[in-house]
């Protein structure tokens, strides 16, 4: 191919592709145009010097496309409406109904997870807990190191954590937190003085967490947790059990039994799984759809490991505490007998409007 031919080809390509941009295609879409890809692969057919200049031209075109920003063209891409002129400062369109139409008010709904969250926050707030929100991107330090997971420890694997392709400032990969416990170190560090002033640390941390799990009716890769942290002098396992029992009794509006069973988390010692007596069958129906032999496992918890307190600068000889991680989706599923966790993110209005 001659230099002229190739130049003509690039000119035509430039015309075609900028035309697409002006027609409303995004730069990302236009950059995928097969003609552009073909032009780059055709470069190999050209002689050395020609190839260099043609390559520069194509790279420039690619840059131009990537940098393209449509001019503020007023009604350029607006569809013909009842009024030609678009005035966003007016509450209604020219000739439009006053006020602008909305869906029927009675069809509105608040998501069941928001409702569960509000209810949980309300109860814990009344019990004296402060609310701190979690993060959706964090570092390995907060996810693991500060929580007594030694580097390279196999227990890290049990949390099925998503690592990101992007690094934190120390050069380690960022993570999508697999539990809200990743906030413990921050919460404790920030309240060290409060503790020394004689006030306990009593904090709940709701947030989205992520785990590399296959999706089915009871598992999703994203779910909502509510972390609880309580630290003071002489805090006991008995305090942990009573606090959570109080919460669940308030949440389900009835007297309940709770039991703890041994478990393992690196960040608590001892660690437990907590179960409540079934608030639906009162442990009386062997075929109850919600519970297993009268009990429902609701969360993991334990006494905060001394290394976790130390990592936050808190003296574990003087202070002790407990923490838990509660699944908000599970709480809502149990309360409403929701059969499939995927409904929560389905956007299905027939599901949403039931709440």
């Amino acid at each position: 191919m001659s230099a002229d031919n190739f130049k003509q080809k690039i000119d035509q390509l430039t015309k075609d592709l900028t035309g697409r941009l002006k027609a409303g295609d995004s730069p990302a879409q236009v950059l995928k145009d097969p003609q552009l890809k073909q032009a780059f692969s055709d470069l190999s057919d050209l002689a050395g010097s020609l190839r260099q200049s043609a390559g520069q031209s194509l790279n420039q075109l690619r840059q131009t496309i990537a940098d393209y920003r449509p001019e503020d063209s007023g009604s350029n891409d607006s569809e013909p409406g009842p009024g030609v002129f678009f005035d966003p400062t007016a509450p209604i369109d020219i000739g439009g109904q006053m006020p602008a139409p909305l869906p029927p008010a009675e069809g509105g709904s608040i998501h069941p997870i928001s409702q569960a969250l509000e209810e949980a926050v309300d109860i814990f707030s009344r019990m004296g807990f402060e609310v701190v929100e979690s993060r959706q991107i964090d570092s390995e330090y907060y996810m693991f190191d500060s929580l007594n997971f030694p580097a390279g420890h196999p227990a890290r694997d049990e949390f099925d954590t998503f690592h990101l392709a992007n690094d934190d400032p120390t050069g380690r990969p960022l993570v999508a937190p697999a539990h809200t416990s990743s906030m413990q170190n921050r919460v404790l560090k920030e309240r060290k003085q409060q503790l020394e002033d004689g006030q306990p640390v009593a904090v709940i941390v709701p947030g989205r967490v992520f785990r590399n799990e296959d999706v089915d009716a009871t598992h999703d890769h994203m779910f909502y947790q509510l972390e609880g942290i309580y630290v003071d002098q002489k805090v006991t396992v008995a305090n942990l059990v009573a606090t959570l029992k109080e919460f669940f009794q308030d949440y389900y509006g009835q007297a309940l039994e709770v039991k703890i069973q041994p478990f393992y988390f690196p960040f608590t010692e001892p660690s437990f799984e907590l179960a409540i007596s079934c608030p639906f069958c009162q442990q009386k129906k062997p075929d109850c759809r919600v519970c297993s032999q009268g009990w429902i496992e609701v969360l993991g918890c334990g006494s905060i490991h001394p290394n976790v307190l130390s990592a936050a600068g808190i003296d574990p000889q003087k202070y002790s505490g407990f923490a838990w991680g509660m699944g908000l989706m599970r709480l809502a599923m149990v309360k409403h007998n929701i059969e499939d966790i995927r409904h929560f993110v389905s956007g299905r209005v027939e599901f949403l409007r039931q709440f």
Binding site: S78, G81, F85, E130, M222, Y264, Q293, S320
Partner: protein, 819 residues
Amino acid sequence: MQVNLGWLKDYVDWDVAVDSNGLIELIARRLGEIESVDDLADKYRPAEVVLVESVEPCPGRDRIRVAKLKTSDGIKTVVCGAPNLRAGAWAFWLPAGGVVPATYASNKPLVLEAKEIGGVVSEGMLLSPAELDWGPDHDDGIVLLGEESRAPFWAESQKTKKPAIGQSLAEYLDLGLVIDIENKMFTHRPDCFGLLGVAREIAGIVGQPFRSPDWYHLAASQTSNSDPEIVIDCPDFVSCFQIARLKNLTVRPSSVSVLARLSSVGIKPVNNLVDITNYMMYLTGQPTHVFDWKALGQPARLGVRRSRPGDELELLNGQTLKPVDDQPVTLVVADDHPVALGGVMGGQKTAVGDQTDEVVLECANFNMYDIWRTTMNYGLFSPAATRFSKGQSPHQIEPVIRRTAELLALTGGGEVVGFPGKSVGKLALPDPVSVSPEFINDRLGTDMSVDKIQAVLAGVELHSEIDGDGCLAVGVPFWRTDLQIAEDIVEEVGRLAGYENIEPSLPVRSISPPPPNRQLRFNQSLRQVLSGAGANEVYGYSFVGADLLESSGQLPQKSFEVKKPLRPDLQFYRQSLTPTVKALISQSQRTAPAPLALFEIGCCHWLGGPVDDEGLPLDQPRLGLVYLADKTQSSRPFYSARRYLDLLAKSLGVDLDYRPAAARDLESNWPAPYRSGQSATVWLGGEAIGVVGGLGDSLAGFEIDPRALNRLVSASARSYHPLSRYPASRQDLTLRVGTSVLYADLLTCLEGVLSQSDYQAQLSLLSIWSPPDQDQFKHVSWRLELTSHDQTLQTAAVSAVVDQLVSAAAAEFKAELVT
């Protein structure tokens, strides 16, 4: 960890019922969650022990014979092709009507029928190992009883058991309940990956003595290091490597008892030598491996080293391992040639086969982190790797290799030649843990006596002494690598004494109220307003695909990226909420009729976005709403989306401003797929807090920063107008202006006039419309409401204000009063 309770009885007895109110519940409450309880008696019912009375040829058939059996139901006849069938033998018989055990858990259980074979009706069958689900058949033979003296665990429990006609198979082999305890419970308990560890725990839980085998307490002895020479070339990864050499062995199937017990806990039998190593691993948690000595090449040096470029090893599972340079592994090497992937899997070429008569038994301590990395890097998993990755004690090696060698010699009929071995430095025993009884009670919230605490600990072989300060010095046996600090002892005491015995008590604290989270409360009020106006709250995933980003005009390379996404549509963090909500509304319209509005309160992230003082990305809160108009709606959907914002503003007591959005605003500040010619930026207090705009012919939406909104609302005071004693006067007003005059500008002009008047004034929009064929003009109608605090206003006073309004609008916008 699967536990055969019949096997467990070799080490502990219990006096509680084995049911969900007894032993099963105690184990769940004091050791770990039980995932399943299976009764093997169901699987093997109605198979029973029979005596073969006679064996006769089958007329006209060479390969089958007719046997008369002495059964619980008298003499029965079966037709059998097993070559090892002989009169006087004891065997397992499955009568007609029984389910072949190997098919018990399958979709189609095979129910045996009485069948005529070679002119003889066969009343059931004599069972082979495969039919019993005990691994492959050998030489098509049936299972014959009577070799139990060679079974290692009989020797251990000092029991003898003779077959009896009609005894059920399950009873004869102690096959009853098998419980599966969740492995996660034992992440820090390498000892509980062995039956001895579990038995010890159960002894402590039920308060019965644990029959601790003497051989397990054997202290490390001085080992020679020769024949072959033991070489540890990677001391950071292997702390101890020992072997036993055995010769004159015979390889054959394991005895019935071994087959049954291994199978009962999910271990596939292989041959008598390999089965013993698996049996010992199951018992102690310590993996071992047997190599064929001749296949190893009778090496002068045997040991471990890290992998090097070019190393290659065919593994027992058929895979060929080629370690890559940046993911080295620990290899067992014979004269430097790889023969096994240390701690994970043996090599195919050196495996014990039918002709093996001389073996090397290897027992080592591999670094748990290294084993874990190897399994993750190469996707190679094995029971040995599972156990090593929990951190087995190196002190186990001596007792385990001695006992395993003894059992190999017993089952293989051979003898031990020697125990060459090597350790890296001195293997230290764990230090005692010091803890006061007060500390234990303070942490648990209990009031246990010292005697009670000591007794609870002694139940699991944790012996303690009281020192001069009244503290307990708790001796830590070598198998409890998890016990290091006082809190570990607190757990032991609380767990074994029963957490159910802790009386719940609420913490005592001051009544000072905790600081409120105003944003959370604010977000809740936004939800209330939007849902009250017919919108539905949705939750979308935080992760989206490149397609969704690109179709929204967003560049994937600006998103944080998940390294190993579950699916391509979950690869990137979303940069705005609108694309997700828009996608959800597109799906919803199939089942829910328009008009429809979905909203989400969530967070977004993008590269180069705000970070905290450690440089970590911060969540950017957003409220996004998408409105779908029905087909009959004549006005643009933009105005419905905007109305939601106006409702929010009204509920918050503020006025929002809208300014036509430039394409650049949308690209840089509010990455969302809004149409640039139909969008506006949303302003409050001189700050842009979001964008509202068209998303398609019948779609529009907005996305705002709820945190900025909350901050700005909090900073502005609600204005209150005292109520007048006099009634308001109202007059409608219509102005004709050019279509291009912005409504907000016109309103600002009128409000400027009203602010100068002596009255309390309010303008309420009634309509905006264009006369037919006059697109260049629009008529804007308001209702003016004027209130005086001094008097009831007369028409003339109201008209005077209207005149001022018209004059001002005429001067600024060439507006005309429409009468």
